[in-house]
Symmetry: C2
């Protein structure tokens, strides 16, 4: 086997050999891979499944096209958040996907499913969050659809435009530095704080804000464009999963120092309720930008991000071998701890 190609993809993959098994035995990643295989290849110039957004060509200019849902009981819970929080986040997570492609969000449509017993005021609040976020990122809310159901669900489809070419997940090259904006783990810490009903002041208030009111890194992504990142993704499911996606798409390995991971310092406030490094690597929902670029442009990238109000942290380096390690721990072991839809693993926020 020493002569064979390095296998970049199979270490965490769940093979679905029995279609009668429950979806929860398979998990989101394996199912998405199963679905993607049925989409067929896109026409030239388009990118379908497998990146932060699709790239589609209808007229002359490529468009970014994405959709994402927030489901009650899975992505949020009314015991700890308002309709306005839900509306804000539903749009923000889609704007983050457009940012991670190097694009600009333009028009959105929303499909909203509500429980009939909710007050009209809840829908008013939802609309406030949606319109606030739309104003923040200059998105036109062009319409939508309203349904009844037994759980609340907000789906936003967002169209974006591109200035340069799209920044895909697949462009990371050996020798590139791996960088991330901001601090990680805060959104997971905020979720813990909300679930444990901690008083929302100081560090806890900031963590809760990261969970309920994420800021898409749109200006940071635009500022980075001139430094031509070789790949980019937003940290929506945690560094361990999202970095794995970049490495899988690029056919590459990595070497990362655990001491380099920019753990959100506010997590200290939570004491032993979670392991801050585990939250940073597996928490997700931080919506920071994870990107790679040639080392020669690192200083320019740092300066560009600084001008956009964002910090840059170098996590490590892209490698040509198939090793993927954070110090001596395999990235796949961290990845196993991260959240996936439709799986029945529980979360621990502890080291593997």
């Amino acid at each position: 086997v020493a002569d064979s190609e390095p296998d970049f993809r199979c270490r965490y993959k769940v093979v679905i050999d029995e279609p009668e098994q429950a979806l929860s035995n398979a998990g989101e990643s394996a199912l998405v891979e199963r679905l993607t295989a049925r989409l067929g290849p896109p026409p030239a110039g388009e990118v379908w499944s497998g990146d932060d957004t699709a790239v589609v060509l209808i007229g002359d200019e490529p468009l970014l096209f994405t959709v994402d849902s927030m489901v009650e009981g899975v992505d949020f819970d009314l015991s700890y958040c308002t309709g306005s929080d839900v509306g804000w986040k539903a749009l923000a997570i889609n704007v983050s996907d457009i940012a991670a492609m190097g694009g600009r969000p333009r028009r959105a449509v929303a499909s909203v499913t509500l429980r009939p017993e909710l007050p009209v005021a809840w829908l008013d609040e939802l609309m406030t969050g949606l319109t606030d976020a739309a104003a923040r990122w200059d998105v036109g809310l062009a319409g939508g659809d309203l349904s009844g159901g037994t759980e609340i669900s907000i789906t936003i489809a967002l169209l974006g435009s591109l200035v340069g070419g799209p920044v895909l997940r697949s462009g990371a090259k050996p020798g590139d530095v791996i960088c991330v904006t901001g601090r990680l783990g805060g959104a997971a810490g905020g979720l813990i704080a909300l679930q444990e009903n901690l008083a929302r002041s100081g560090a806890v208030a900031r963590l809760v804000d990261r969970q309920l009111r994420p800021r898409a890194r749109l200006e940071a992504a635009a500022a980075l464009a001139g430094t031509r990142p070789s790949s980019m993704i937003d940290v929506s499911d945690g560094l361990a999963i999202d970095l794995t996606r970049v490495l899988d798409a690029s056919g590459a390995g990595c070497r990362i120092e655990r001491a380099a991971v920019p753990v959100d310092p506010d997590l200290e406030e939570l004491g032993d309720r979670l392991d801050p490094l585990a939250a940073a690597l597996t928490g997700g929902e931080d919506f920071e930008l994870l990107f790679t670029l040639v080392p020669e442009r690192l200083d320019a990238a740092r300066a560009a991000l600084h001008s956009a109000g964002a910090e840059l942290t170098v996590l490590g380096t892209i490698t040509a071998d198939s090793n993927r390690q954070i110090d001596t721990t395999d990235l796949a072991d961290w990845r196993e701890l991260a959240w996936e839809h439709l799986q029945d693993r529980s979360r621990t926020f502890r080291e593997p």
Copy 2:
């Protein structure tokens, strides 16, 4: 009041004066109107809420942009349909919206929420229905999103292109003839047949097919383009609601003969389980095209539709006054019987 402008809009409108009331007291139409008021006016050349799809301008060419969801327990029930049925219909209802704007569907993204205990085979079936419908109407399924939840929900966002200008709901003029393709009420009949578990053969099988496998009238809409309909909408919520939408948007009245309504003859098979005329006027989900045009082009429209395999029926005439009647019954009385999301009225399929 004899001198005042005719009031085209207030007869059925639910005024939401108390935000603490339940959504179910208000109903979809009133809520959508409340939401639309908060979207702000669109830029020149765009159409936001209030038509079958939005029209957005990102590059030089206008795009059609729409989203629609199918929710378990509301729009379908696994006791009577397969994953493939759900996938087909989820795309078909969006294609129908693009058709009703005079457009061509191009790319879709799907957000799918599934119950974790469902078998992987159910998702495979869903994908079969989606890809079959995508192939039927030449839509590229460009990606999506997968979540877990306690009820199944499929949301499709669809982008379309235009050949000519969009055909809006607002263009009906006094003197125009009101026309519809195909027969009405069959989809509602199919739902009754499914709910009562009737044997699926002959007329019942055709009704069930109309409910589970709707055919968007895309070729018919394209064939009509040359005859320049003044307004168009798809019959998704029933003639009484959808015609009211055209009349509201156009600021017009109508005069319709009940004998002219093309009731699906297969409904006779259901005996006294429903009133066929009520099913035709309030059933919805037939996804036929309701359109208006100047009488001089009626023969051309009939010939164009015939070439696309569709029949044309003249229902009546657009009027300048605010009367809206089907024979001597007010359209609003029929409208009250039709289905709306988020309302607690029950359906009867009987005459008002």
